[in-house]
């Protein structure tokens, strides 16, 4: 089982590479369409702007193969911008079009502090395999200025919600083999590693749920 990690030249994907390496999961970078052969899962860790990512993917002839991968219901995990690109439009780049496989919009935070940087809780709205061993409202690391519209909090594919300065928005989504998270599991300590492990359905030996501190409320 090999996981492909999309490398479109824009984002910092070394953390994702390091995390899968730590979990002892075979992975390889996907820089062109040929790299998508013989992989069984796809992770898209995106940062930077919506339009720049779309343009870079098109230049590398990766846009259509990824869209086809998703439409064929093959396992996909979009992280941050990799989740936002599942929608057609973002107010960040009105002229650009994402994969458009989910209905909805991505818009800019209307908050005092932008971007949201730091650890925030995710509340799961339904039982799911991604949240296995991550009950309650676990903390994940967020870093973003744009978010999936709060109009979509009741959408059938909304899996988890986050709240930033009074705005509640979808922070995790799931539709069959399609998964997306607005936060960065690769930067969210043992909780994030456990989430990646859950997604990969990987029963490796590496134990990730350790920490040597405890605080009230945990």
């Amino acid at each position: 089982m090999t996981t492909g990690i999309i490398d479109y030249g824009g984002g910092n994907l070394y953390s994702v590479v390091n995390a899968l390496d730590y979990l002892e999961m075979p992975a390889r970078l996907v820089k062109n369409p040929e790299d998508m052969e013989n992989i069984q899962r796809l992770i898209f860790p995106g940062v930077g702007s919506f339009a720049a990512a779309v343009n870079d993917l098109k230049r590398r002839e990766l846009f259509t193969p990824i869209k086809t991968w998703i439409e064929n219901n093959r396992p996909y995990l979009g992280i941050c911008l990799g989740m936002q690109l599942l929608f057609a439009r973002s107010s960040e780049s009105p002229e650009a079009r994402g994969f458009g496989v989910l209905a909805g919009r991505v818009e800019k935070f209307r908050t005092k502090r932008i971007p949201q940087i730091g650890w925030n809780r995710v509340s799961w709205v339904k039982e799911n395999s991604l949240s296995s061993r991550l009950q309650g409202k676990p903390f994940f690391y967020f870093l973003h200025s744009y978010h999936v519209s709060e109009e979509q909090i009741s959408a059938p594919w909304t899996l988890g919600l986050a709240d930033y300065e009074g705005i509640t928005y979808p922070a995790a989504i799931h539709l069959e083999n399609l998964w997306g998270v607005q936060f960065h599991p690769e930067k969210s300590g043992w909780v994030g590693l456990q989430l990646l492990k859950n997604w990969l359905n990987w029963d490796g030996d590496r134990v990730v749920n350790y920490k040597n501190y405890s605080l009230p409320g945990c």
Binding site: G10, G11, N12, Y14, S15, N18, A19, D21, Y22, V47, G48, S49, K112, R113, I114, P115, Q116, I117, G118, W119, N120, R121, F139, Y141, F142, L143, H144, S145, D163, Y164, E165, H184, E186, K187, S188, G189, W190, G192, L193, Y210, K211, N212, Y213, S214, L215, P216, G217, C218
Partner: protein, 251 residues
């Protein structure tokens, strides 16, 4: 609700963690990889490595350390010190850093902020401001706090934000290592006027100072060095105290 970040800062010189007072009088404070691992396990929300570049020739660079740390520590890592070009940013990210903190190079060449933001995204560009009070207001200093640029810190913060910095790391030169508390007036001035997050740095000597930096100074994150390295206080103690004060923290 977004929580306040506690960020241990490792000032690194030739592969070792050091800490000075008012940017001088450096003392040995520990082994970086060991300290990083310890802070991670204790619940640090991010880690910052600042290469203070005190040694003219370094056998171990800060990037060597980041490369090692990034393989086992899964929280955001920031690297600062000696970032002068987009090529330096690329190298730091490739070593496993998530963000870079830029100080002197941005003062010399403000375009570096916009180029970095365009190429790698604002989220990885931290504008580090070494601010010192002089006469009437705070000014941005360059060259490790040695040179007053004559540019008011608040103006520089707003300019940096407009150029594409995603965060401001605000160091008080006057309070650095003194443990007298953050410069709250400076913090308030900057944090109330920018829209990007502000990280408070320089001067924390006890728990009350940390809480003040957030509740009075308006900081979104606090950078802690001496307090932790000399084991005066631990990260769980900090978080427990802040939580009692009503400050949201990650548990």
């Amino acid at each position: 609700m977004l929580t306040i970040r506690i960020i241990p800062c490792l000032d690194v010189d030739n592969g070792q963690v050091v800490k000075g007072t008012k940017f001088k009088e450096l003392k040995y404070a520990g082994e970086p990889v060991e300290l990083a691992r310890q802070y991670y396990l204790e619940g640090a929300d991010e880690l910052t490595f600042l290469d203070i570049g005190a040694s003219p020739r370094e056998e171990v660079t800060v990037l060597d350390l980041v490369r090692k740390v990034a393989r086992e520590i899964f929280i955001p890592l920031t690297v600062g010190g000696g970032i002068r070009s987009t090529e330096d940013i690329r190298k730091a990210l490739k070593a496993g850093a998530d963000k870079v903190a830029i100080c002197t190079a941005a003062l010399n060449n403000p375009e570096l902020l916009s180029q970095g933001a365009r190429q790698f995204g604002s989220q990885c560009i931290v504008l580090s401001i070494d601010a010192g009070f002089s006469g009437d207001t705070w000014y941005a200093f360059s060259h490790g706090g040695r040179k007053n640029t004559g540019k008011p810190a608040i103006e520089w913060a707003l300019e940096g934000q407009a150029l594409g910095a995603g965060e401001i790391l605000l160091n008080s030169i006057d309070r650095d290592g003194t443990q007298d508390g953050y410069d709250l007036e400076l913090l308030k001035e900057i944090s109330s006027r920018v829209s990007i997050p502000v990280i408070a740095s320089g001067g924390a000597g006890k728990l009350e100072h940390l809480a003040d930096g957030i509740t009075v100074g308006g900081a979104d994150a606090i950078l802690v060095a001496s307090l932790l390295h000399y084991k005066q206080i631990s990260i769980p103690e900090i978080k427990k105290y802040l939580e009692e004060k009503g400050v949201p923290v990650r548990c």
